[in-house]
Symmetry: C2
Subunit: 306 residues, 2 copies
């Protein structure tokens, strides 16, 4: 099996001005994750590091640069899952930490639980020695403008700042799978709004017997459609990763009239990359070649940086 | 189609002393829900009222009588879903309200979101005029003893007080479906622990094209297995409600070594009632007959009270 780390940087109506930043960010994340696998790291390490890199990057709606809730605060969700044993960890509505995906992993590894919410999640972070960043320090200028824009025009679906959930799926040479997703949610959301990204089966799923999926897009629709698990079941029923991903996305958009995107790796190493939204940044590295795209039909290849 | 409201009162290692209370409670809830359908109410009203009745009943781990977190507090989760349009609402880690299921319905009906968590969920409750009960007033003597027992013996899986998530699924004469689930979670849980009950696809699912499901049992395993949606997909693949329910439960327990239960109604009105745990209280009414059970293989019928 050829090891691979496939990442996305969020599906949605990405404005032209944001395209170069998003492409640079997903290429960097895919390359980082791939290096971990090539150096003998686990698929879990690979997806965590890929997602962390995008959490640090203002170009994405996760970690620093997350969109804001109606109170002007960053409240973040993240989830991570191991395909070998279905072990899962997630956090929701967590504040003032740089890497929600790392906290999600700690929930999986250090507690008997799958999901911690709100102040309980922050208390756990403190107990685990996860550093707290000063209130407001995850708020970017861009996110502040996006909230102002939302408050003025009321539509959080087509304005700037709405998109950029990040995710990664990985497979190693032995067919082991993992998936991870992290988000700041939806611009102008209510305080306490929890997203599909915190729900195993909606935002994230991984099962070594089937495949691994990370989703992005209109979170409420993804949750109602149970999108990640729908893709898993389509593969289980005999579809390729590619067909399963497209079929589930088209089904969701036809039924719920909202858009989304997903990245999938099947247990046989097949890839699925698709979106019903206008754009979705994605990238993966195989050997010394980076593959990436953001437009429908785009699949660009270039030599990896170093 | 024969209208039906099928309820459960939680799967688990229910001690003998709690059996009569649980049976009385599920019979009452099923009967209440059925009356609503018979009087022309919606499936949504029916599942909400059935669940509210069990939230009020100390015999169950939902609303009053919920199990306690490690701080000795009640933190509750609930979710509700309409099969016609996949509309969904949920709350998690909510405190000091009598009926989390009603708040979940308000999230569905009054917000653009599916899930609200923690202080945000309580703030929304206040904005909606949902009464707050005094802190501690949902804490029962039984739950307090169960937490003490957990702190002393450390095992929250086989001691008293662990079981009693409640749920309901309903179908009306036109084949419309709804599902609802409510829980206090797991005894001795960490502060902020959110359960499968708040996750669409794990605790609750309803789709008029397939069926409706409410699950109960070891929440972390249910979430990792995406149990409700797995049952939905088994029906979609051609299984009866009965076979789909049993197959998914056996699959989950074989893979994750924890137990659960579920109630299911398929779009054709077929019923699925099964559990891999020791016991699960369930009941439904058809015409003037109440059907109920709590042991494996038990299916008792009696004339409905009035």
């Amino acid at each position: 099996m050829e090891p691979i780390v496939l990442v996305h940087g969020g599906a949605g109506d990405i404005p032209d001005s944001r395209v170069p930043l998003k492409i640079a960010g997903v290429k960097k994340a895919a390359s980082l994750g791939y290096k971990i696998l090539r150096n003998g790291g686990s698929v879990l390490d690979a997806v965590e590091e890929a997602v962390k890199s995008m959490e640090d990057d203002e170009a994405f709606n996760a970690g620093y640069g997350s969109v804001l809730n109606l109170d002007g605060e960053v409240e973040m969700d993240a989830s991570i899952m191991i395909g070998a044993n279905l072990n899962s960890g997630a956090v929701t509505v967590v504040k003032d930490i740089a890497h929600p995906i790392t906290l999600a992993r700690l929930v999986m590894e250090k507690t008997p639980h799958v999901l911690l919410a709100g102040v309980g999640a922050n208390r756990f972070a403190k107990d685990q020695g996860v550093p707290t960043v000063p209130p407001g320090s995850l708020v970017s200028k861009y996110a502040t403008e996006a909230l102002e824009d939302f408050k003025e025009h009321g539509d959080n679906r087509t304005e700037i700042g709405d998109v950029g959930t990040v995710g990664a799926v990985a497979i190693d040479s032995k067919g082991r799978l993992a998936a991870a997703t992290s988000t700041g949610g939806i611009n102008g959301k209510m305080v306490g709004r929890s997203s599909d990204t915190s729900m195993i089966g909606s935002g994230t799923y991984a099962d070594d017997d089937v495949g691994a999926v990370s989703t992005t897009g209109h979170g409420e629709s993804i949750a109602r459609y149970c999108l990640a698990h729908t893709i898993i079941y389509e593969i289980k029923n005999g579809s390729s990763a590619n067909v399963a991903t497209s079929k589930a996305l088209k089904g969701m958009t036809a039924k719920l009239h909202n858009t989304a995107g997903a990245i999938t790796i099947s247990k046989s190493g097949g890839l699925g990359i698709d979106f019903t939204s206008r754009r979705m940044a994605w990238a993966y590295q195989i050997k010394d070649e980076i593959h990436f795209g953001i437009e429908h039909g785009q699949h660009t290849k270039e030599k990896a940086g170093n």
